[in-house]
């Protein structure tokens, strides 16, 4: 390989698009490492505390696009306190001081302040794309800074963030000279925006292909926008409510006929089902339909809509679709690859929910299904075995029975065999979430068969340490393990400490591990950060009492040692 000049190697590496491939290539020899690092433009950091901004900048001076993830996945479910960490400010400060020409920043579960956004907007002349997913800590003032200062902004994508909405003024901050927008998503904003500003913005953005509006944008505005942007590929409606007899609605019906490019449709946070016929003409083109916030569409109207969407590949819906509705999906959407069914009544026990029948129907009608998230009332082993047989191509299989320790609804047995069938049949399974009554046996199956498994989420399952041991010993490719409320203790935790350096992280909450076990682990493994989240002074009374049970453990591998921004209630052992 020494015969090739560096430029040739670089050119070859250009064809490697995945981070993993590039990471692998950099380990071949020092020459390849050097060529790879200078030519790398996109870097993905799955845990912002695994590395420091300084080291990042040093290694990849050509960095243009950075993806960072902060808090653990369970922060989505309120298990991680607000001020745990995950601040983007130090990253932006370091990048701003350097000569890095940052163009794209993608953040997930990080704390972003208005100050950070302001600094970001002023520091990188060529900044093009900002994607924030499940972040918090900022307001629309920060968005105003981005709008005003990023002259070549193409993408502003806000997905499910907690944003303090000060007013719709931020949208007016896009200067008249800004004509480069290709993607704008502000669906998660709660406040009003200025419709006229929005219309003008769309009118001067000829490359706009993706637009997701928030709840406050009325139907009249939607109609006017669609007139200006007939080439839209991805649309998220705002308030989809209007008098179906009105001129506005009739205009919308006509306008939508010109939007032949729409492939992704979402929104409907507010919807009058009588207005749905306007979108019927584009249904046949849709490949992605997200009705998971559309509580206002149900029953026969929902079915009528789905029946027209024969080409769907990804469908996100609420469980009020019912088993019967899923049968319609199964018979209509034969190209379906990804299905997510969310609970419409997360706390109660609703009658409209879905069961194993719906899932089996889907498995029969949709053989291409590879990703599933299914919140349901009940499940059976027989159904899971059938699903495993019908759909051997699952990459992601996440089943959530709302009552998490519920046994097989027919036999009252644990659901071990059902999940066992899934892991045995689906040889490419990378992500698995389990619920239901489950013993150590299910973990034995997972350890035995789930060879490609990278992420496992478990709650209220297992009988003993053996369960966790099966997984740690068996799943060679495991990267993320998250466990809540399982009877796994120090024996399991300490059995293979070295394993955790091959993984991104381990989360254990409300298990049987004690402070002593965690301290031992921390001592054995200096390159792991072993953090205890000690909320509500659970453990304050006796910090020396090593026998006390640990409420929340989060450990992760890192090259930079214990973090310096940990709050008081986070103990790094």
């Amino acid at each position: 390989m020494n015969y090739f000049p560096d430029e040739v190697l670089e050119h070859v590496f250009d064809f490697l698009t995945s981070h993993r491939d590039r990471n692998a290539v950099s380990l071949v020899c020092s020459l390849w490492y050097r060529v790879e690092r200078f030519s790398r433009q996109r870097v993905f950091i799955g845990n912002c505390y695994a590395i420091s901004p300084e080291k990042l900048i040093k290694r990849f001076p050509g960095l243009k696009s950075l993806t960072l993830k902060g808090k653990h996945h369970f922060a989505d479910f309120n298990l991680v306190p607000y001020d745990w960490g995950g601040y983007v400010q130090p990253w932006i400060e370091a990048l701003a001081k350097s000569r890095i020409g940052l163009e794209e920043l993608r953040l997930k579960r990080m704390v972003v302040s208005d100050e950070s956004l302001e600094l970001l907007s002023r520091s990188f002349a060529n900044f093009k794309a900002l994607v924030l997913v499940s972040c918090e800590g900022f307001t629309t003032d920060g968005l105003a800074a981005i709008a005003a200062n990023c002259r070549f902004l193409r993408e502003l994508d806000l997905q499910e963030n907690e944003i303090d909405d000060h007013s719709g003024h931020w949208l007016s901050c896009f200067p008249d000279s800004c004509t480069s927008l290709t993607s704008l998503n502000f669906a998660c904003l709660k406040g009003e925006i200025n419709s006229a500003s929005l219309e003008r913005l769309v009118a001067r953005s000829p490359n706009l292909r993706s637009l997701r509006l928030n709840r406050s944008v009325p139907l009249e505005t939607l109609q006017k926008i669609l007139v200006q942007a007939p080439l839209l590929v991805d649309l998220g409606t705002g308030s989809y409510v209007h008098d179906p007899d009105s001129e506005t609605y009739n205009k919308l019906k006509t306008t939508i006929l010109t939007c032949k490019s729409i492939r992704n449709l979402s929104g409907f946070l507010e919807v009058d089902p009588r207005c749905l016929p306007a979108i019927f003409p584009i249904c046949l083109n849709l490949t992605y339909l997200n009705l998971s916030y559309a509580a206002g569409i149900h029953g026969s109207e929902l079915i009528k809509l789905i029946r027209r969407c024969a080409k769907l590949q990804r469908l996100w819906i609420l469980d009020c679709i019912g088993d019967k509705g899923l049968e319609v999906v199964a018979s209509t959407c034969n190209e379906l690859q990804e299905l997510r069914v969310f609970p419409s009544d997360p706390l109660g026990i609703g009658h409209d929910a879905v069961t194993e029948y719906g899932l089996v129907a889907i498995s029969i009608g949709c053989p291409k299904l590879h990703s599933l998230l299914y919140f349901c009332q009940q499940m059976t082993n027989a159904a899971l075995i059938t699903v495993a047989r019908n759909c051997p191509n699952f990459i992601r299989f996440r089943l959530c029975i709302l009552d998490p320790t519920k046994p097989d609804a027919v036999t009252m047995q644990p659901l071990d065999d059902g999940f066992g069938a899934i892991v045995q049949s689906c040889k490419f399974l990378r992500r698995l979430s389990l619920t239901g009554l489950l013993t150590d046996q299910v973990f034995r199956y997972i350890g035995m068969y789930a060879e490609q498994l990278e992420m496992l989420s478990v709650a209220f399952a297992g009988n003993s340490d053996k369960g966790m041991l099966y997984v740690l010993n068996g799943c060679k490719k495991l990267r993320k393990l998250e466990i809540m409320d399982c009877p796994f203790g120090n024996g399991a935790l300490l059995s293979d400490a070295g394993k955790y350096e091959t993984m991104r992280s381990l989360w254990m909450s409300s298990c049987e591990i004690t402070l002593s076990g965690c301290k031992t682990l921390a001592k054995m493994m200096p390159r792991l950060n072993v953090e205890i989240i000690n909320e509500h002074d659970q453990m304050e009374i006796c910090p020396e009492d090593d026998g006390q049970r640990v409420g929340k453990l989060y450990l992760y591998r890192t090259l930079v040692g214990p973090r310096k921004d940990a709050p008081e209630f986070v103990w790094n052992l």
Binding site: F77, G348, F375, C400, S457, D485, P487, G551
Partner: protein
């Protein structure tokens, strides 16, 4: 940015002392206790959430996380019966369960669905009141919704939303609603927002039933209201 507090039980004043005091003593009779360890007697998910349902004051829900009851007996009654029985009231929210983002949960809470009954119609409908901004919008929507299921006399359909306020002889139906106190009220008296908060269900009452044979008073509106009130008393 205020932390999301939907997971805290309202009114709970959690201190570690309270937590420790109560954790060892509460539990349903006949329940298997998890042995060992200094901290709480961990109980099954169902039992714990049902305790919270009963107004258990040790509502440190963020601390006592459930666990599967110890023991190999998976046909144990406590698990099965807990699983199969729908609780009368909604189960109290448990931190981290179900694994749904708060944003999603809150988006769904923003709906206000009420049942709408129309005298003579074969079935009821449900409408989301949140999507309407005024009485006019609501009534027009209801009118359209129910037109499809049975014939309405000519003079009801047509001119404009204001007619609900006119004397009832001009229309066939009187819109009434049941409020939080269980009383049947005439739609339209209170400001829209107040109506949104207090309305539990809607009934479009046949005007012939409502008017009866009473002579109209000087103020047409008070006439209909009093008649509706009379009707209410008669119905009881």
């Amino acid at each position: 940015m205020p932390p999301d507090t939907t997971s805290e039980s309202p009114g709970s004043d959690v201190t570690s002392t309270v937590f420790k005091d109560t954790e060892l003593t509460l539990g349903l009779p006949g329940e298997a206790r998890f042995s060992g360890g200094k901290t709480c007697s961990k109980r099954g998910f169902i039992e714990r959430s049902m305790d919270l349902n009963l107004g258990d004051s040790s509502s440190s829900s963020s601390q006592t996380r459930g666990k599967i009851l110890a023991g190999q007996d998976f046909s144990s009654e406590s698990l099965v019966s807990g699983a199969g029985k729908p609780s009368a009231a909604k189960r109290q929210e448990v931190v981290g369960w179900p694994p749904v983002r708060s944003l999603r949960k809150r988006a769904l809470e923003g709906c206000k669905y009420v049942k709408v009954a129309v005298d003579g119609a074969p079935y009821l409908r449900k409408v989301d009141l949140e999507i309407y901004n005024s009485y006019q919008e609501l009534l027009r929507a209801l009118e359209q919704m129910f037109m499809t299921c049975f014939a309405i006399r000519g003079n009801y359909v047509g001119e404009g939303g204001r007619k609900v306020m006119y004397p009832m002889k001009e229309m066939e139906y009187v819109p009434t609603y049941e409020d939080k106190d269980g009383d049947w009220m005439l739609v339209g008296d209170v400001p829209w927002k107040m109506f949104l908060e207090s309305c539990k269900r809607i009934r479009l009452m046949k005007s012939s039933e409502a008017v009866g044979t009473l002579a109209p008073r000087t103020h047409p509106r008070s006439c209909t209201y009093e008649v509706a009130a009379d009707q209410q008393l008669k119905a009881r």
